[in-house]
């Protein structure tokens, strides 16, 4: 991945220099090298801070709309670096007219899976100062205050990368990638099936335990590219859902359930919600449940596979299954 990374940074600089783009939406390191976060680079000079490494998991599609970068035409084009999974989100946002394609120049960047610093730490490694990658990308040499150590990349992947949807970019202007043909890994619905096989009371206990951890920080919502509303229903008192005055309210209790339904049929399973949750709530289990059901009930559908799709919840077939016949997993 280090080879790809270097090409990406060089190409970004070139595109800025030759005037193809006026700015770059990429990542830069935060306080620590593994704290990579979305950033906007307005000058060629500022590009010295641009990084692309194993810790750039953030989905920049959402970053484009939160900053309304791509909606203003007269400011020139923006270069955006998109990993394969990020391109699904980009397409979905195009479908929903939240982005203007003409204002964006997409550099599809190859990805071999992002790493989770917490999982590295969980191996007992402390005082991390840097990471080097082996030639084949399978091993990481972790440099620490106490010496170097080698670990397997596979063991420290971000949760969402463990069940990667595949390395092919669904939309791009230019591609820097050497593993486009790589297919999906793992079974992303295994976790859903496991939960489905429990008894209703067990499932309730599971979710009660998980959701009670929620501190309503809204990180999931802010990271989610399907949460693309200009104003969220939870921030809008007229919606009948939000009620900020009362902390023990409907919205507080059912926030995640409502959010999951709002993004059903639109969620690309980018996994950002679970990745950014500071409490480690497995929010992707909601989204994957919907995706799995949609696939089973109405045929395979991958939101963001291409721009302009008609989503499963705004479509129907005369012979669709009846809601009462929905398979009951342990219940009823």
């Amino acid at each position: 991945m280090q080879a790809v990374s270097k090409k990406v940074l060089d190409r970004a600089r070139e595109l800025m220099r030759d005037g193809t783009v006026s700015r770059v939406a990429g990542w830069k390191a935060g306080e620590f090298f593994y704290d990579c976060e979305p950033a906007l680079f307005e000058t060629e000079e500022s590009l010295k801070d641009l990084v692309y490494n194993r810790f750039c998991a953030a989905n920049l599609s959402k970053f484009l709309i939160t900053n309304d970068i791509a909606s203003v035409a007269d400011r020139g084009r923006t270069l955006v670096l998109l990993k394969p999974c990020d391109t699904y989100s980009f397409n979905q946002l195009l479908t929903e007219h939240r982005l203007s394609r003409d204002n964006v120049y997409i550099l599809g960047v190859g990805c071999e899976g992002m790493c989770d610093v917490d999982r590295i730490r969980a191996l007992g490694i402390k005082g991390i100062t840097g990471v080097d990658e082996s030639e084949d990308g399978k091993k990481l040499t972790v440099r620490t205050l106490y010496g170097d150590g080698e670990i397997d990349v596979d063991g420290v992947l971000v949760n969402k990368c463990e069940t990667c949807k595949g390395k092919a970019h669904k939309i791009f202007d230019e591609l820097i990638s050497d593993n486009e043909e790589e297919g999906p890994r793992g079974d992303r619905f295994e976790c859903v099936r496991e939960l489905e096989s429990m008894a209703p009371a067990e499932r309730f206990a599971f979710w009660q335990k998980e959701l009670s951890k929620c501190i309503r920080c809204n990180a999931c919502r802010n990271a989610c590219p399907a949460c693309s509303c200009r104003k969220c229903v939870f921030d809008n008192n007229a919606s009948g859902i939000a009620s900020k005055a009362n902390t023990d309210s409907f919205e507080e209790k059912l926030f995640h359930i409502i959010r999951a339904f709002h993004v059903a049929g639109r969620c690309t399973d980018c996994g950002e919600c679970s990745r950014v949750c500071p409490q480690g709530i497995p929010l992707h289990l909601f989204n994957r449940k919907y995706i799995k059901d949609i696939n089973e009930f109405y045929g395979e559908f991958a939101a963001g596979e291409e721009a302009g799709q008609r989503g499963p919840l705004i479509s129907f077939e005369a012979g669709d299954r009846e809601p009462n016949s929905v398979s009951d997993k342990g219940g009823d």
Partner: protein
């Protein structure tokens, strides 16, 4: 500050018997926002409405709740009363404590408790109501009648007579429908053709009526006053305006093996044919499945003999697009398939016929020239057995649960006509009940039984079979409680009638509701019998339920008068409970546009001032004239920008909360 008034109706004892209205009033008085509550025997009466009007004025009410019958019954009444007292009519909510409560809950405690909850939910909702103003929409001064039988013809004639344009769309090549197939009509025994054909001619001659025959409705859009309809005019392969109806082509056509539909398939007709002598338009049509030229390219005889040069083998289906203010369904009926009733051997014995087949046999223009001959060998029958209620009043699932209404009378007519013309023929009728509720009906039946010696046997037929060249009928006589075995030369089945199979498709296009038997539902079974619950759709004839000719004609006239009433208006008030998009919240995602069945949502990109931030955004716009208020858009809208007036998210949530309190 909301000031709500609650009015609890006793509806005589309909509500008061199982709901403690005083307790509901007492509970209403302590609801937040409620400043006035009162009960009264009949809220819908003038005195009751005056109570409401006076209270609105006296207590400066900003909204009212009426706990009464279904809003489908009196919502309009109470809205009008509110408006008369200066309150916006959409500040009225109805708690349905009759149909949904007092009528179904015998236990007074449970009924009262539920009525309280329904009242609280209505109060919670009305607290969030906002005044709404109804808009206006145009009325296209033209009506469409679907079906050209006696029902459709009569409706069209009456509408045309009032000076409005009417189009009749008929799926067959001629108008006339079932009545044209009948020989005589009960109870007067006058000739069916003699009274129908002048009406057909009149329809043809009227300058306000356009006949679109051999055509079907393909698509319907729009709404009351402004329907947009696409009609498929099937290719006749004969130019309608050129053909003189001389019939030469029919004589020369070598493909003569088509089943004559008009004669119920009892004889054959050529591939090019005029359905019957008095057909309107009196123009030939080619059956494309049967025509040699159209199937093999050879032949072309009809084209050669046609002196008028009316034949056109290249003719294609044409589409007519037209706007209408009102649509009348007059799609009629057909007899059910008697072969489902194997015990009567209809599909195996030629001499077992249906009543409509007998009608053709008895008709002078029919396959036997009006002479009663048995179909198997053309011989004169000496004994005829009629079986009534074949598939009617049948709850086994094979037939229809309803009474087809006309069978008792036409069977009496057939029996009488046979006995009159051929006194040597014995006539027996098996019946469950003889139903004769109509003017001169019972007299007619008694004449058949008493004067004409028709043998009426109360009981059902178990089996009909063929033996030694004649039929054997085994039935039961319930009065003597004995089995009856009769030899017969012919058996006539009074088959049930069912709505024409096209009715369901047409009703779906018109979004007119349909019942489990495929009859079109009326807006109210007693008070609005010729209207569909879908505004602008009217019902004429058997498509609404079984009826005889006089009833059909009167209903046709009633439907016409409703249509005329509508077309006389220049503007209609539209339903103000329509969708509304908040452009500050709209993401421009187009989800709502995709689910809108009326194309009422469009998108516009314009400058938005979002709390001081000026931005050009793509936002949804609702065309209130097109929106019908279904709310599909509101649920697909992720940001909650789209809401439905009168049924807003907050209102429904408030109802849910009040119910789950």
């Amino acid at each position: 500050m909301r000031r709500i008034g609650v009015f609890v109706c006793w509806c005589g004892s309909n509500i008061a018997a199982t709901v403690d209205v005083a307790a509901v009033v007492a509970d209403a008085k302590v609801q937040p926002g409620v400043v006035f509550a009162q009960d009264y025997q009949y809220m819908c009466s003038e005195a009751g409405q005056n109570i409401i009007k006076d209270a609105i004025k006296e207590h400066q009410l900003t909204g009212i709740v009426v706990c009464s019958c279904s809003p489908r019954m009196h919502e309009a009444t109470f809205r009008k009363a509110a408006a008369a007292a200066g309150l916006n009519p959409y500040m009225v909510e109805i708690a349905n404590v009759r149909e949904h409560c007092s009528w179904i809950h015998k236990d007074k405690e449970a009924g009262t408790e539920k009525a309280r909850v329904l009242m609280r939910a209505a109060v919670a909702k009305v607290m969030l109501n906002v005044p709404l103003k109804a808009g206006e929409s145009r009325v296209v001064k033209r009506a469409l009648v679907i079906g050209g039988g006696i029902a459709g013809i009569q409706t069209a004639l009456d509408i045309a007579d009032a000076g409005f344009q009417v189009d009749i769309v008929e799926k067959n090549a001629t108008i006339g429908g079932r009545m044209a197939q009948l020989d005589k009509t009960f109870p007067t025994l006058d000739c069916s053709s003699c009274i129908l054909t002048p009406k057909m001619v009149e329809a043809k001659a009227s300058e306000n009526i356009r006949l679109i025959t051999y055509a079907e409705v393909e698509e319907v859009g729009g709404f009351v006053g402004d329907f947009k309809v696409k009609i498929r005019k099937k290719a006749r392969f004969v130019k309608e305006d050129v053909c003189t109806g001389c019939g030469l082509c029919m004589a020369k056509c070598p493909s003569k093996k088509g089943l004559n539909e008009f004669n119920m398939g009892l004889n054959n007709r050529p591939a090019i044919y005029i359905p019957f002598a008095q057909a309107i338009p009196n123009v030939a049509v080619i059956d494309k499945t049967q025509c040699i030229k159209l199937n093999t390219g050879k032949c072309g005889l009809c084209e050669k003999v046609c002196t008028a040069k009316a034949i056109d083998y290249t003719m294609q289906d044409e589409f007519i697009e037209e706007e209408y203010g009102a649509i009348v369904m007059a799609t009629g009926f057909r007899p059910i398939d008697a072969s489902k009733f194997d015990e009567y051997s209809y599909s195996t014995c030629k001499d077992v016929v249906t009543s409509l087949e007998l009608e053709r046999i008895m008709n002078a223009a029919g396959p036997t020239g009006g002479v009663l001959l048995r179909p198997s060998d053309g011989k004169h029958p000496h004994s005829v057995v009629f079986v009534q209620c074949v598939g009617s009043r049948d709850v086994s699932g094979r037939g229809k649960p309803y009474c087809s209404k006309i069978c008792c009378m036409y069977t009496a007519k057939h029996a009488m006509l046979i006995r009159d013309k051929y006194p040597d023929v014995d006539v027996h009728v098996f019946y469950i009940d003889v139903r004769t509720p109509g003017k001169n009906f019972d007299e007619f039946y008694r004449r058949a039984a008493e004067q004409y010696d028709v043998d009426y046997i109360k009981g059902q037929v178990g089996k009909v079979w063929e033996e030694d060249g004649h039929l054997v009928v085994r039935g039961v006589d319930l009065i003597s409680n004995e089995q009856v075995i009769l030899n017969a030369d012919m058996v006539v089945l009074a088959t049930a009638i069912e709505p024409d199979p096209t009715a369901r498709k047409v009703a779906n296009m018109l979004t007119a509701s349909i019942d489990t038997n495929d009859f079109i539902t009326e807006a109210h079974p007693k008070l609005r019998p010729v209207e569909s619950p879908t505004a602008g759709i009217f019902l004429s004839g058997v498509c609404q339920g079984p009826k005889d000719i006089p009833e059909t004609v009167s209903q046709a006239g009633a439907a016409a008068s409703k249509v005329i009433g509508l077309l006389c208006k220049d503007k209609l008030t539209t339903n103000p409970c329509v969708a509304r998009s908040d452009e500050l919240l709209c993401n421009g995602c187009s989800c709502c546009e995709k689910v809108c069945p009326y194309g009422a949502i469009s998108y516009d990109t314009h400058l938005i001032n979002d709390h001081g931030v000026k931005e050009t955004r793509r936002v949804a716009l609702v065309n209130e004239a097109l929106c019908q208020g279904c709310g599909a858009c509101t649920v697909v809208c992720p940001s909650g920008a789209m809401d439905l007036k009168g049924f807003s998210n907050k209102q429904i949530m408030a109802e849910v909360e009040a119910i789950c309190l």
